[in-house]
Amino acid sequence: MPKTLLFAVALALGVCVLVLLSLVGYVAGIEALYRPLADGVATHPLTALTLLGCGVAVLLECVPVARPSVSDGHSLSLAAARGLAFAALLVALVRLLEDVSGTVILHAITPFQQLVDEELAAGKSNAMGANTAITMMLLAASLLMRSFGHARMSQLGAFGSLFFPVTSLAGYSYGLQDFYGEMSPITCLLTLWMGVSCLFLTADSWVMNVLLGNTSVSRVGQIQLVASLSFPLFVGYGVLFVQTREVSSLFAIVMVAFMWFSVTLISYSMLRLRRFEDDLKSSIQQLGVSESQFRDLFEYSPIATLLLDKKNRVVSSNHEAEKLFDTPRDELHNMSVDSLVPDGKAFIRDTAPIEQQAESDSGYDLDSGNNQTNSHESQQRLVATARSGTQIPVEVSHTPIATLDGQQTLLAISDRTEVQHHLDSLERSNKELDQFAYIASHDLRAPLRAITSLTRFIEEDLGDQLQGETAEHFSLLKGRVKRMDMLLNDLLEYSRVGRTASRPEWLDLDDVIDGLRQLYLPDNRFTIEVLGNTRKVFAARPQFELVARNLLMNSVKHHHLDAGHIRVWVEPADDTTCVYFADDGPGIEPRFRQKVFDIFTTLKPRDEVEGSGMGLALVAKSMQLVGGTVEVVDKLCPFSMVSQAESVHNGADSQEKTAQSGTTFCLQYPNHVPV
């Protein structure tokens, strides 16, 4: 149970005990218990009862907090608290109504009414005044609001309820009867306690939360509140003594009004200050979080990182940097970057920081055609020097960052030793592989040529004597030798793909296809046409010619008829260009569409269709080298729908024709130079 709630309960208990005491006074006829000053103002029985109701309601509302485990008891005690508060509210309202209308309603239910009547007849005062009624009403309303969860309304009500008791108390202390009227000092004190108790009930929200909080704003608020409440009291008493108990009501009104005004003002400013304080706190917290995040990122980064000042001296370094340079942190401090990474200064001076690089590198500049200038590269391969003098191949990049000490530079240094090692061995094995394929096909061809020569010699020497089966075997022998020669030739070409790199340019598709048509499709059995509006491809001419030639030869070689038609068209996308080659041949079954690009793969026996199975492998390798792709797709030429439709409706063999919809190859070229 929180302290504030305990306080509220203690106040409510005190109220209950004192009220019960005054009620005992009525029962036992002891006047002093309900009228503390002889011939003074008394606590009316109804006032005592409503106060008792409020006090018990406070206690009941605290039950759920005190014993959170009993859930049934909660709703019951809460309902009882609401009932009591509502009854008190009702009594206070009816009393007000009586006052306003001048009728008498409550006499019937007022206990000890006879005693009260007698006292009134004796000229003594005993009534529940309008002030008391309003105070009780506000108290009851505050409790109701609290029970329904409206903490702000509850606080407002409780705050309002404090007005009359405080004013009356001021009246008593200054000796101004106008100020307390019919409110007895006991009632004043008890309602005051009740109000404070109600305020403390909602101590965890709104103004009370701020005032009772633990922050510096709360402390300032508490001090101000105590000062503004006590100052008028003391001044009042001071004036009282000086003026020998002749205080004008105006002075007292000003004092009370000032007090009330300052309490309201303080509460309001506390609220605003608290909000401001909260914002400040969360921003400071965020700052701390980002600061520690940056520290962590920096320290635990897997890449050696140095923070450099304006003169490129090391301000701080992370764990990886210590490891890389084999130098403890405090020794790295203040070292010049050039002694760690020779040319580091020049690198930072001459190259763009990494984020600018990302912007400038987003697209390939077609006009300048030259994006390989070093000044734009933000990453550079340099050599770092460890303490022992060991040279370490590294890749460095730099980023400017703004700090409290001005502009500094973050230098990331990644160790490339392992990468370089792998790169070297990869390069070596690639070279060896190329060399192997080249030499193998060369050396394999020498004996093959010898066989060719010898066969020819024998043929020539035998002349007409070569007949029958022998002649047939000779021709088979020559055929196989020729096939072997072709295989080796294609293997050689495959190994050569990518040996010479040339820069891509925007090629005119008609131009390239015309050249290929004249060279490779001289007899007009196979026709080829370029369709569509886009007729440009961004590719290197030798590469595109190689790929196009192999696709065309593939279509011709595997066509089921003696004549055919090949359509070529281009579909540009955002950063790629797709070139389609569609033939009207037998097509490729979906399950083989990946396989056809493997080396030495043919879908038919070589005796049936003479081929090495290298053509499409060559296309795939070549496309891969330029950062593009090649695949067999299900796509008909969008520019020849009419002829497609015609062929479908073309009589009896339409079934066969739709089944043999042909093969469409899709070449996807990137519109930029591959990295």
Binding site: A450, S453, F457
Partner: protein, 149 residues
């Protein structure tokens, strides 16, 4: 009389074939047999052997050299370099006769002032092409004197 003798030697220069492949040499010999030049053919199996032939006391001169590139001991390009550096032999006309269509090989050979680069797969694919070329060359070209060493 002296002049006539000289004319005679000029009309039938030696043909020095430098190749390590027996069957290629056989093919060349068969070619030359067709144009009756077989008798002027001298064979060497690598650059070292070829230099020995050229530098012998009764050295072969004038000579048309048919030179392979890929050979053991001293390959064609090394032989060419040695030949061009040799004061006595540097004028000899050389045809490279190789299977290598490597651009680097070709460039290196032409840098050494060869008369021509012949691909075996072209000129040896039938008997007549190399035979015609050699016979036409030897009968039409005027030969240089051997410089004094």
């Amino acid at each position: 009389m002296m002049a006539v003798r000289q004319m005679e030697t000029r009309s039938s220069p030696a043909i020095l074939l430098v190749d390590d492949d027996d069957i290629d040499r056989l093919a060349v010999r068969r070619c030359l047999r067709k144009v009756a030049l077989e008798n002027s053919l001298i064979e060497a199996r690598d650059g070292v052997e070829a230099l020995e032939h050229l530098q012998a006391d009764e050295g072969v001169w004038p000579a048309l050299i048919l030179l392979d590139i890929n050979m053991p001991r001293m390959n064609g390009l090394e032989f060419l370099q040695a030949l061009r550096e040799n004061v006595a032999l540097k004028r000899a006309p050389v045809f490279v006769l190789s299977t290598s269509d490597n651009a680097c090989d070709m460039a290196a050979a032409y840098d050494q002032m060869i008369a021509g680069y012949l691909l075996k797969q072209d000129v040896l694919s039938d008997d007549s092409r190399l035979a015609e070329l050699v016979s036409s060359y030897t009968s039409n070209v005027a030969w240089p004197d051997k410089p004094d060493a």
